[in-house]
Amino acid sequence: MSIDDRVAAQAEQSDQAAQAEQSDHGARTAQTGPPTPTEQEAQAAPPVGRPGPPKLSDAELRALLVRPVWWRRADVRRSALIATVSTLALLAVLGFGLSSSAGWESFRAAFLSPEHFVLSFPKVWDGFLLNVTLFIILEPIVLLVGLGLALLRNLSSPVFFPLRAFAIGYIDLFRGLPAILVILMLGMGIPALRIEGLSSSPLFWGAVGCVLTSAAYTAETYRAGIESIHPSQRAAARALGFGHGRTLWYIVLPQAVRRVVPPLMSGFIALQKETALISVIGPMEASRAAQAYSATTFNFTSYLVAAVLFVSITIPLTRLTDHLLRRAQLRRGMGGAV
């Protein structure tokens, strides 16, 4: 007999014993009215003839531990089964509903054509490489500019008031503006100025627009982290003789940055999608390449290709972010108050 069987059998036995005892007790009270003091004493003592769960050896306990929760617990197993069945049922209904709609055939030809998927893939892929290059180059810049803004915002000396005011104004402005407007204005406006030595490439100014917008959000993320550090940490640093700046640099910032890694990752994912906005001023990135393909072939499957490419990068990163968040929560829970 395996351990599982033993445990299950014991649990069943004790359940039955408990039930039997209950009904037995019910019958007795019905017959004799309120229990006498001796009966109450008998209840307080462990019930006779009801075997408890078996004592397990260390090896047996360890054998139980290695099994995943869903295997150990019947109710978890049952929930997993129900979830699977209901998901399949919903998909079946949706699939049937869509495929029996009037326009299904023409929709499938225009958006889900396998031939066009294969044909458009190389062009959209080339465009997507531009998106990837952009967000890999831009993310470090965004992280640095955002940190700089957050630090400016934290300056305490009155001498630096203008810098602090600038940081606050900048963050307010670029968090309030739609990114697409920033990109349009920079991409159209600055090349039109024709200033010597300034790039007139729409790609460059589109990238600048992405950085300006994302950095404002990133600065706020850093600030939230800085403000989440308990004042007692600052007090301890000040008591050791560290001034405002060094306290921020050696004590507050290292803890704050660790704490905001997951939200910074979310910002990174947002930036990846934002790079698609650059297409409005011309550069041939994935969504623009998809658009160009559909304009010549009157088939929209190329959009699906672009969507699949974006999702293939953003979804794994989203999962990783969730994982980091969970781990951070777990750590904080165990670490207790600091």
Binding site: S232, A239, G241, G243
Partner: protein, 264 residues
């Protein structure tokens, strides 16, 4: 008693918002003296320590550390210089959780004391070894017990070679069984000849370690004297009531023992 007091507090008043927390407190602390501040919660013990270390602004009065005024015109740079001469240990330890024990202790000597990394670490390891924490040098604070964390916090303050150490109810957040190891360390600090000012609820410990006990109530010094005077023969009724309620808490009545004192 040498000519210059280690800490000299003259008519110090302090307020949080509209609440006066200290009223005209005057206290002269001689070098190498150990002062225990006792009194009910909210009486101003912690505020007095935090104000000496300039973590709180004072409302009026002055504080001198070794004859040098540290309040008022001392300015920002002056404040940080003073803090380096005065160490402080907190009730909640306040260790830096992102740094190891060794890094916690060496940070200030390296960045402010001008010691090289190697020199600061040698010194810190010697301190840790001397106080039985050598094997914890590379642990992070959340891996230590409360008592160990508080001992590290005391060593962190000690590593900056202060002349005065302020201890703010350093055993109040500890499990009873680890209180002893922290008290033993404080005794060693006294034997090293440091000037100590400690706020405490441990009257028996105050009796054995302090040269002088100061009883505060409602932001004022009500009575001060040797441990025997204050704990065995208090003269002021408020001191008498407080000492009695600390020694026999089970006999205190609810009415006369309000937890927070208001200042009249």
């Amino acid at each position: 008693m040498s000519a210059v007091a280690a800490v000299s507090i003259r008519n110090l008043s302090q307020a949080y918002g509209e609440n006066l927390t200290l009223k005209n407190v005057s206290l002269e602390v001689a070098p190498h003296e150990v002062i225990a501040l006792i009194g009910p919660s909210g009486c101003g013990k912690s505020t007095l320590l935090r104000t000496i270390n300039l973590l709180e602004d004072s409302l009026a009065g002055e504080i001198l550390v070794h004859g040098e005024p540290v309040t008022g015109e001392a300015g920002r740079g002056g404040r940080d210089r003073v803090r380096r001469r005065v160490g402080m240990v907190f009730q909640q330890f306040n260790l830096f959780p992102h740094l190891t024990v060794l890094q916690n202790i060496t940070l200030a000597p390296r960045k402010l004391g001008g010691l090289s990394k190697a020199a600061a670490e040698t010194k810190a390891r010697a301190l840790l070894a001397r106080f039985g924490l050598a094997e914890k040098a590379n642990e992070y604070p959340d891996r230590l017990s409360g008592g160990q964390q508080q001992r590290v916090a005391i060593l962190r303050a000690l590593a900056t070679e202060p002349e005065v150490i302020l201890l703010d109810e350093v055993t109040s957040a500890l499990d009873p069984e680890t209180v002893g190891e922290v008290l033993a360390l404080i005794r060693e600090l006294r034997d090293l000849g440091l000037t100590l000012i400690l706020a405490t609820h441990e009257l028996q410990f105050a009796r054995t370690i302090a040269d002088r006990i100061v009883f505060l109530s409602g932001g004022e010094i009500v009575e001060q004297g040797t441990p025997a005077q204050i704990l065995d023969h208090p003269t002021h009724p408020r001191t008498r009531q407080f000492v009695a309620s600390m020694i026999h808490p089970e006999q205190a009545s609810i009415a006369e023992n309000s937890p927070k004192e208001a200042i009249g």
